[in-house]
Symmetry: C2
Subunit: 348 residues, 2 copies
Amino acid sequence: MKRPTIADIAARAGVTKAAVSFALNGQPGVSAATRERILAIADELGFQPSSAARALSDGRAGAFGLVIDRPARTLGIEPFFVQLIAGIQAELSAGGTALLFTMVEDQAAEIELYRAWWAQHRVDGVFLVDLQLRDRRVGVLRDLRMPAIAFGSPRGSGPLPAVWQDDVAAVGTVVSYLTGLGHRQLARVGGFPRYWHSKLRSDAFAKAAVVAGLDAVSVESDYTSELGADATRKLLLGDRPPTAILYDNDLMALAGLSVAQQMGVDVPGELSIVAWDDSKLCELVHPAITALRRDIAATGVQGARLLMRLAAGEVAANICEPTPVLVERASTGRCAKRPAPLEEPAPA
Amino acid sequence: MKRPTIADIAARAGVTKAAVSFALNGQPGVSAATRERILAIADELGFQPSSAARALSDGRAGAFGLVIDRPARTLGIEPFFVQLIAGIQAELSAGGTALLFTMVEDQAAEIELYRAWWAQHRVDGVFLVDLQLRDRRVGVLRDLRMPAIAFGSPRGSGPLPAVWQDDVAAVGTVVSYLTGLGHRQLARVGGFPRYWHSKLRSDAFAKAAVVAGLDAVSVESDYTSELGADATRKLLLGDRPPTAILYDNDLMALAGLSVAQQMGVDVPGELSIVAWDDSKLCELVHPAITALRRDIAATGVQGARLLMRLAAGEVAANICEPTPVLVERASTGRCAKRPAPLEEPAPA
DNA sequence: TCGAAGCACTATACCGGTTAAGTGTCAATA
DNA sequence: TATTGACACTTAACCGGTATAGTGCTTCGA
């Protein structure tokens, strides 16, 4: 049994390919009776249109692309992307649109992939993640006139529509929560400083600290557990060790917790820990980690809708998703310490 | 600047489309000089063939598919799939082949997707993961005559070529390692019992225990931290609590470690813990978890090669990858306990 | 010196859809 | 009764490649 084409259906129905096409696509040009008959035959044969033929004919690929440029070894543990993809899929599959998903080594490779995909008509548009400060990708996509939307702040997406959360407000939530618990020495372990969302959170953190009149320091990392652990160690051994740390992802928070425990620093007695992005990992460890939760899958859904509209030539405006909410767990508590610096534990 | 087609190149070179096609594809039929000229023009225009046109013409989609049927919330934390995809990509991208990646809710949806993809010519073949005991997918793919390879034991892949590791040998490694440390009461927390790899490991575990003349029990779970934690709790509170537990993934091992610590069971003093599949998570926690390591990305590479051969109509035989090796860390140690049962900690 | 073979290339059909333009039939209208 | 127009379809071009069958020219051998 060959895969049937509209020509097969046309032959059986005693009409031409065009009539079949009209009937299948709900176009005028065939009578109701004929349409019925054609649909019945199509159904009986299990007809599905060839995506290649349709793509060639109407000029759209029926697929979108998502490229992630992060080292694979850290990615596996980032629930963010899987949630995002799950959300995107849920929306796309309804419309029969496929998702090309690729991981690359660096941004140059990512850009080359966009060029190739677009030149080959492989995709109708792409989702951008991890917006960077002077992001070459934005200009390239604009020049290519390739439909694209960004997950991240509109401040970094240039002409591209964005789906974003109010990270500034979320930082405020965390800072006031911690100050409410009596903490006066805060720290934050951020991600790559070249990422917009990392910078925005960093700035917001510094500003909120100034407003609240307290000590706050942000340090950079690369989202891996190694650097998260290093940063924690340095902070705790520093001149003015923090009594609370906000980590930019769950993995680093976990690493930080582990380091604190190894150093004999009690959590939450001496140190409170908060993670940005909640996941099973946060619930899993002991003490469970207080986290900022957002609905990442919902963000994916919105992004998919936005890109579909954009690719269809409709106007597409930024979408602001709900601000992350704080899920309180056992890793945060009242600050038990005087403003005086900690005694430094002897180096192992 | 429109995206150039072979017709544009032909016009510039003063030849026909056919000549251009011959030149670009290294076919005979054009002189060396003309070929040079055509290639130069193609290069100058930045020509890339339309994937849709090529797909329509030569009947292949230039893409493979990978569908994962697991709840998204657990997937995010499974490094296995990301590593596998990274390996697959690395190999496919060299040949300009794309990967359609999708997550679904259940097996019925997965099968529907295969049918749709095949009918629509969207893919030239698919990668199968999580082989199950009587796996409907295998029969469906055979009936569709759709090229497919499996990641997992050939015992479960039926007529499909497989890329696999010798899990039985790996189980043997772990069991003899643990008995060498003096453990006599072993347990294993497996995944879904309907998965072939889970069953194979389970059987191998039981057999190895019989051979070594010791107590061994396997319990089932769903790879989530919740069930991993539950299983650990039950085992430790049971009649004959194990002194060592092998977990089928890193996440459950982590959950098990956490539960043990909450129950006041010392690791590795009273309980040794081993994880199947190594990852950053295993190094991150305290004590770090001893794990079975395999090169998952390499497995992906092999799988991609195999599927490319299969889709090209070449013969494709099973490929056996190296047996996982044990990476010793702090979560395992000499058994300090008498064969007598543990005292049950009072329930919290 | 003529036929055959080889070469370089053209003309064209084809893959499977979509769609603009054209055709024949019938009913409504002037 | 001739004209118009709506309807239901057909014809054929088109998307951008690939592949097969030709065509005209050169070269070689008998």
